[in-house]
Symmetry: C2
Subunit: 193 residues, 2 copies
């Protein structure tokens, strides 16, 4: 299988990066391939402009690669901190620019009506997010956005959201425990070939 991993955190030494590394290592150890994008490291431009909205011919190579990876993967993992009950702007911009009509979804005529058709072939999507606010632990709003507004729209019905909280001030053993849980998640979704 090919698994796409999208990471959006500005600090290379963040716990989000440790989570991403755990995902990459375990999926590869299980014999699958990983398409890994650290959006801050790539200097991903999150701003949908009129140009990119218009048509695909003049798109920059970065967006072309992202769209190809998205269309070709069998599973998707998104890793980000919970900022204002939402993903950071860099992840939001990945949605705005990469998941375009004709790539992630399209509307088709059926019996005179416009019907939504999800285009992604990935079977599973996993969203792992971290937060420092106890009240955001198990953030149902954030989970619903990813599940109902994003992935179901693109045809992916099997979505798992894992909220990790409170990151700040938590000790190493707790952090390692969460990483072990994530390793187990990887085995469940992308187990030994």
């Amino acid at each position: 299988m090919k698994v796409l991993i999208i990471l959006g955190h500005p600090n290379n030494e963040s716990y989000n990066h440790a989570i991403a590394q755990t995902c990459v290592s375990q999926i590869e150890a299980n014999g699958h391939s990983v398409l890994f994008h650290d959006l801050y490291a790539e200097h991903f431009n999150p701003l949908l402009s009129l140009d990119t909205e218009a048509e695909n011919t003049e798109l920059d190579n970065q967006i072309k690669t992202h769209r190809e990876d998205l269309m070709n993967c069998d599973g998707i993992i998104v890793i980000h901190p919970n900022w204002w009950g939402q993903p950071p702007a860099i992840i939001k911009g990945w949605l705005d620019r990469v998941l375009s009509p004709g790539v992630a979804y399209q509307f088709v005529e059926k019996d005179g009506k416009h019907v939504l058709l999800g285009l992604l072939k990935a079977k599973n999507a996993i969203v792992i997010n971290t937060s420092n606010t106890p009240s955001e632990a198990g953030d149902n709003l954030l989970d619903s956005i990813w599940t109902d507004r994003v992935f179901k729209f693109c045809g992916i019905n099997n979505v798992e959201c894992k909220n990790i909280s409170v990151i700040k001030d938590c000790d190493v053993s707790q952090r390692n425990k969460w990483l072990a849980e994530i390793k187990e998640m990887m085995n469940t979704y992308f187990g030994q070939k």
Copy 2:
């Protein structure tokens, strides 16, 4: 009163721009002042970096101005299209970078616990968003994010969200009808001095 207006749409000729212009005109006609920010026109950088996260002394002037306007206003209006059940990346980045701790909220010690304190003095917040997907009309998830995850967190409890849909293919008379409703909203919240 001073009313802050934040607009996030890439197309100068968009209906979002017409909405913003209606808000500006009516609020000024009623004798109040407007602090207007068209984020795309300003080339607003939406990416929170480690530098900006760190401390305020080295912040660029753009963010300083935004924070001052946010702290000094009596009302806030945010205007954006609904993309993936969320605001566009440029609006998300405005939240990430401008609404920082010490500006929009802070945690204080009280009886040995960390308690959230909203810092904004604005009494009202209005969010106006447009969408092309009928199913997103009256998008409760988006409304809850703005109301519960953003503005209540900053101490603003009086929040109204207006979802306008379907924009695409709708005729001029419908567009004018919505603009008239928005003008009325401005009179309700920011009426004659």
